[in-house]
């Protein structure tokens, strides 16, 4: 009986909202579902990173199915463009694979004016195209990966590669390095990894970047572009998001992690790597080459950002409710698409950060789950 009443009140709330009721519907409690409050009717816009876009689109669609009064549009225009649009306030939230740099935060009024939360976790694979060498057969170490991308290892039958792959018949073939030609968070995480494991790389390129001066190799646009390019070119190797590797059934290498174990990159490996770093924050976000026996070495968070002070209370409430859901229930849509689930410590950080979002001085996030 109580359940029916609750359902009826939720339905009434939805109806009200659908009829154009805005903040009046905010307070309708919804105790039946995930423990999250019913969000007010709003149409939210976000823009930014392309890497988490499939996850966001699936999650936001599911959210709209759940709460039909909230529609969310996400434009995967790239992290840089997303940050620019947020600073011009043309979107309600921005998305970036790398948290705001100091200069970018300054353009938005300072680091305390923006709340940044980790939304999902990704890991990268090294995919290759070698005849007769199947998925997971090739083994790469931090040293050989750095040498390949520095151009010091040029042939597949290089002694350094043979040493790690005694069982394989590595061909006398040129290594064709493929990297991203467009600026991307994927490149940032990969070059962050390279800078972490190789002093030579760091000295040569100056450290991580969304686009860097590559010592060797060809560029292709987007994860899909790199993936296609590798599949097409014998002898090619490149870094690709795990999701693309699995979806396109590419062959990927086992990577030696910081504990000395060879692991095949996986979503679980990314979560394992992330849970090694309890102090992760927007200013200390690197989780590459993590310790731990299962850690996938080339992993990284993707971030969402909103203004701390929301001028429009209704929209602000809808935004924090959405993000609260995204880092909790919404994570299931990440797993389906081969993204990694956020570790629990990061979810707690996110919710604490979201509690700091205010409108007119009062916090907008009412219930945390």
């Amino acid at each position: 009986m109580k359940g029916i009443l609750v359902a009826a009140s939720v339905a009434a709330g939805l109806l009200l909202a659908a009829c154009g009721g805005t903040s009046s519907a905010t307070t309708t409690p919804a105790t039946g579902g995930a423990g999250a409050p019913t969000p007010p009717a709003a149409s939210l816009n976000g823009a930014g990173a392309t890497f988490p876009a499939p996850f966001y689109q699936a999650a936001f669609y599911a959210y709209n199915q759940k709460f039909s009064q909230v529609t969310v549009n996400y434009q995967p225009v790239g992290s840089g463009a997303g940050i620019q649009q947020l600073s011009k306030k043309t979107v309600d939230f921005g998305a970036s694979d790398v948290p705001l740099k100091t200069s970018e935060a300054a353009a938005m009024g300072g680091p305390d004016k923006v709340v940044q939360i980790a939304s999902t976790l990704g890991t990268e694979s090294l995919a290759y195209n070698l005849q007769g060498i199947g998925d997971g057969q090739l083994k790469l170490t931090p040293d050989t990966i750095a040498a390949i991308f520095l151009g010091t290892i040029k042939k597949w039958n290089d002694p350094a590669l043979k040493a790690d792959n005694s069982g394989l018949n590595l061909p006398n073939q040129d290594i064709r390095v493929v990297h991203r030609s467009d600026g991307s968070g994927t490149t940032y995480i990969f070059t962050d990894y390279l800078s972490n494991v190789s002093a030579a790389w760091k000295a040569k390129t100056g450290g991580p970047g969304k686009s860097v001066n590559w010592p060797v190799g060809d560029g292709a646009s987007g994860n899909a572009g790199v993936a296609t390019r590798i599949t097409q070119t014998p002898g090619a190797i490149g870094y690709v998001e795990l999701a693309y590797v699995l979806q396109t059934k590419m062959t990927q290498a086992q990577l030696k992690n910081a504990d000395g174990n060879f692991v095949l990159p996986s979503a679980a490996g990314a979560t394992a790597a992330a849970s090694q770093y309890l102090g992760t924050s927007p200013t200390n976000f690197s989780i590459v080459n993590a310790p731990g026996k299962d850690s996938a070495p080339i992993s990284g968070y993707s971030w969402l950002m909103v203004y701390t002070d929301q001028p429009d209370k209704t929209k602000g409430t809808a935004t924090v409710d959405l993000l609260d859901w995204l880092v909790n229930d919404g994570q299931q849509y990440a797993v389906n698409l081969h993204y990694a689930k956020l570790p629990s410590n990061m979810v707690a950080n996110d919710i604490a950060a979201l509690k700091g979002v205010t409108s007119g001085g009062s916090a907008l996030l009412k219930v945390s789950s």
Partner: protein, 327 residues
Amino acid sequence: MGKGTAERVAPAPLVATSRQRRLISGDDVFRAVAFAAAALILVIAAIFVVALIVPALPAIARFGLGFFIGRTWDPVRTQFGALSAIYGTAVTSVIGLLIAFPIGLAAALFLAEESGVRLLRGPLSFAIELLAGIPSVVIGLFAFFILTPLMRDDVDPFLNHTLGFLPLFQGSPSGYGYLTAGLVLAIMVLPIMTALSRDVIRAVPRALREASLALGATNAETIWSVILPYARVGITGAALLSLGRALGETIAVTMVIGNRNEISASLFASGYTLPSVIANEFTEAVGNVYLGSLFYLGLVLVLITIAVNVLARLLVWRFTGSEPMAT
């Protein structure tokens, strides 16, 4: 009745004057609209130039003319130079033109001359229109999936085998790079080259051709020593217009050029072009100098393209426009 005549008399001049007035005002309105439209184009062009220069200023201030000879493109250290991209743009466009020029000219002669096989002329004209209408991204797809493996496995090794003593054809081919990009550009400019050359050749006075034939020259001799010399300037213009198109082509080239910021003698090597750098990097170009450098590249590209196009227009106009005086 009196009222009626008064009415009949009065309207005549009234209608006439109002018609006159309407004619004059209609003219004025038309003139104003036409002037506004013409002015609008100028205003848009001016806004465009300003909008290109202003964001480029941070990069112009930092690198100055050294931008043109800088070979580094390093977003991490904020060091930018355009030379590799300028080189790649020039090399691919020239390859494209070198391939498209003889083919386009021969096809144009076939289309313009009476002696051609009539049955083929219709389909050929249609094919040229068709080729001109294919969006460049579709040509890029074709190049990426069909042309690059063909170049890697057959064409490049053949060139390497036969002409490998030249630095142009050395190194191990990946299927991507200057030569493939040049070939794609050849496909893309071929319709322009053919159509413009055909028009130029058709503008050669009939009397000249018939006089040559009457003197006993063969068709080939007439083409070689009468038609081509006469149409030379116009054909050069057609070639330059094709070059202008090739310089700015972006997406199809980006898909096969290899996107490597390097200058290599070998045509098998990967490189970069001005439009490709811009298309690849603008979404994540953060910071005034980085974004400014992309605008600076755009400015360089616009200046080169304008120069080539103006030269081409002058040549084509000089030919087709001054034709009566020539005879």
